[in-house]
């Protein structure tokens, strides 16, 4: 009888363990393997809060430039701004056509880089993790061994990672102030972001980012979303060097009066091209 109980217990335990370990890719060391090309599939970059469809930053693009509706990705719905922080958000929103860092092709920072509507690639090795983003060639290295601190703030910050069970926890600090979406939601350089990446099955990651910024928010708040693996054959990051698409916006007023816009920036074509 005892033997049967022991065997049943053993089967139950193993089954539990197998269920935990089923279906997710792992490294040789047994850690979840996040390697691959991923992308968020939501409207968070338009506005992380729940929102209806509204006119975009310019009517000139018609419906293509409109803010698509979204159910929101913020825990609890609304960002807990301090009252003193709202006027900057509103100012951002009214000037977003020229002031949105994404429009200017600035490095998007954390967490916005994760939910831009473009793919990114996680490169996980035995010793570290690098994340390469298609937009603006943003890139960051997650220090898995020796946590570092930034000598100055930077656009993509300093990322220190460790495992909590099967969840990769990344503490990000030393970030420049940046926007969180195209609607003017923003965070300061004082923010600390804690990301959690949990592989839920072979093609999905559960992503959470908690933003702690007492200068702007009354409490830390969290946004969460699934990340989807780009499974199509030939999936790869492409060049999105968007600087050239931002130059007219940023420097168009400095063009030589009378200069031919179409003639700029083309190498002379030779025969046979």
């Amino acid at each position: 009888m005892r033997t049967i109980v022991c065997v049943l217990a053993l089967i139950a335990c193993t089954d539990r363990v197998l269920a935990q370990h089923a279906d997710i890719p792992r490294t040789r060391a047994g850690k979840p393997d996040l390697s691959g090309i991923w992308q968020a599939l939501n409207e968070a970059d338009w506005n992380v809060e729940p929102h209806v469809a509204v006119q975009g930053a310019t009517e000139m693009l018609g419906a293509i430039g409109a803010v698509a509706p979204g159910i929101g990705v913020v825990d609890g719905g609304a960002i807990p701004y301090l009252p003193s922080a709202l006027s900057q958000r509103d100012a951002n929103r009214s000037h977003r056509r020229t002031e949105d860092p994404e429009a200017k092709c600035f490095l998007p920072g954390v967490p916005r880089a994760t939910y831009l509507p473009y793919p990114f690639q996680i490169v996980q090795s035995d010793t570290g993790i690098m994340i390469v983003y298609e937009f603006a060639g943003a890139v960051r290295t997650i220090n898995m061994k020796s946590p570092g601190e930034a000598p100055v703030d930077s656009w993509m910050g300093v990322s220190n990672g460790h495992w909590e069970g099967d969840t990769l926890v990344v503490e990000v600090s030393g970030l420049n102030a940046n926007w969180l979406d195209r609607s003017g939601n923003y965070a300061s350089e004082a923010r600390r972001v804690t990301e959690r990446y949990t592989v839920t099955d072979a093609d999905h990651i559960r992503y959470e980012a908690t933003i702690d910024d007492p200068s702007l928010f009354s409490r830390p708040w969290t946004l969460r979303m699934p990340l989807y693996r780009r499974v199509e054959p030939g999936a790869r990051l492409m060049d999105f060097r968007c600087v050239e698409f931002a130059e007219e916006l940023m420097y168009g007023d400095l063009r030589k009066p009378g200069a031919d816009k179409a003639a700029s920036d083309k190498p002379a074509a030779g025969p046979g091209k």
Binding site: L107, T127, A268
Partner: protein, 328 residues
């Protein structure tokens, strides 16, 4: 008689053993066996520097001399600092040494070569084909006529789009000359510090289908030949011009890079560039890289690029002055 024979055969054996030992150690130095990643690829990860005083092209007077001797290298390394006493037109510049940007203010990788370029044998770039030279001259003249018309007329480097040393092929650039290599199963990533461009290189048995599209740094794919990573790149965008040319590479342009770990802290980087529309011969070279004793930091270029609009403002202001004519 027997004793003499014994002595000479002992010497013979000793000499043989010595030669064998030398051959083995020389062979061993060449055939360092890199440790492996957990999925079995040679391990080349790390942050490396390729900082050097070796010029890209060999000084003409050195001819085919490919290496300095150790002694010559020592003398070169200790060249006395030249204290500046005159101001020249080119001195509208900050002091690089004030910012630690002189090459000898950073970890230097020892290299006895007289040039990065090793092919052609004289260590100098081959000339462009005459027809390519004509096209290049015409393109350069056309660009210079409109050099300051707008942001889009400025060089790619000034616009923070792409810097020439990032390649491919890579080359040492004088400062911030760090490169990070990252690996995962099926990919190698080559990240230059300046200007934060990460080349994600898929590993494959043959060239993947890139859909007929070009890329700023080309379409690269890699495979391992023993302990050497061989990267082939084609399809470099026509927005980019290679060294020595003001016109882009043609459809047959190709760059081959070979990365081999040569020791616990060192790597050899070799490259070959070929394009029959531009040069009659391929050109290439190599340089060593060493694990950096310092980390790589973000080099966000465009976000802090005040210089570009400032330059345009300056030229626009000058044009107004010129248009106004001489002041009375």
């Amino acid at each position: 008689m027997a004793m003499q024979r014994h002595a000479s055969s002992s010497r013979f054996v000793a000499t043989l053993l010595l030669l064998l030992a030398l051959a083995t150690s020389a062979g061993a130095a060449e055939k360092y066996k890199a440790p492996r990643t957990s999925w079995g690829d040679p391990l080349i990860e790390g942050v490396y520097t390729n900082n050097t005083n070796v010029p890209f092209e060999r000084p003409v007077d050195l001819g085919d001399k490919a290496f300095y001797s150790e002694q010559e290298y020592e003398v070169r390394s200790k060249a006395p600092a030249v204290v500046e006493t005159t101001t020249t037109v080119t001195d509208v510049h900050y002091q690089t040494a004030d910012f630690g940007l002189d090459p000898d203010q950073s970890q230097m990788v020892k290299n006895l070569r007289t040039s990065i370029l090793t092919r052609p044998a004289n260590g100098r770039m081959p000339p462009l084909r005459p027809d390519a030279q004509r096209r290049s001259d015409a393109a350069r003249a056309a660009q210079q006529a409109h050099a300051f018309d707008s942001a889009q007329n400025r060089p790619l480097q000034e616009r923070c789009l792409l810097w020439a040393h990032e390649g491919p092929p890579l080359r040492p650039v004088g400062y911030n000359t760090l490169v990070q290599l990252a690996q995962t199963r099926g990919y190698v990533v080559l990240l230059t510090e300046m200007i934060h461009d990460a080349r994600v290189i898929p590993l494959a048995k043959s060239r993947p289908d890139f859909g007929g599209l070009t890329r700023w740094q080309g379409n690269s794919w890699g495979h391992w030949e023993g302990d050497t990573l061989v990267i082939e790149t084609t399809g470099i965008s026509d927005r980019v011009t290679p060294r020595g040319s003001s016109v882009p590479m043609g459809p047959e342009g190709k760059v081959i890079e070979r990365i081999t770990r040569t020791g616990p802290k060192s790597i050899r980087y070799e490259f070959t560039v070929s394009d029959p529309s531009l040069w009659d011969v391929p050109w290439g070279g190599e340089f060593p890289m060493e694990l950096s004793d310092q980390p790589l930091f973000e080099y966000a270029c465009h976000e802090g690029n005040y210089g570009l609009p400032n330059t345009l403002r300056g030229i626009r202001e000058e044009e107004k002055t010129r248009n106004r004519g001489p002041r009375q």
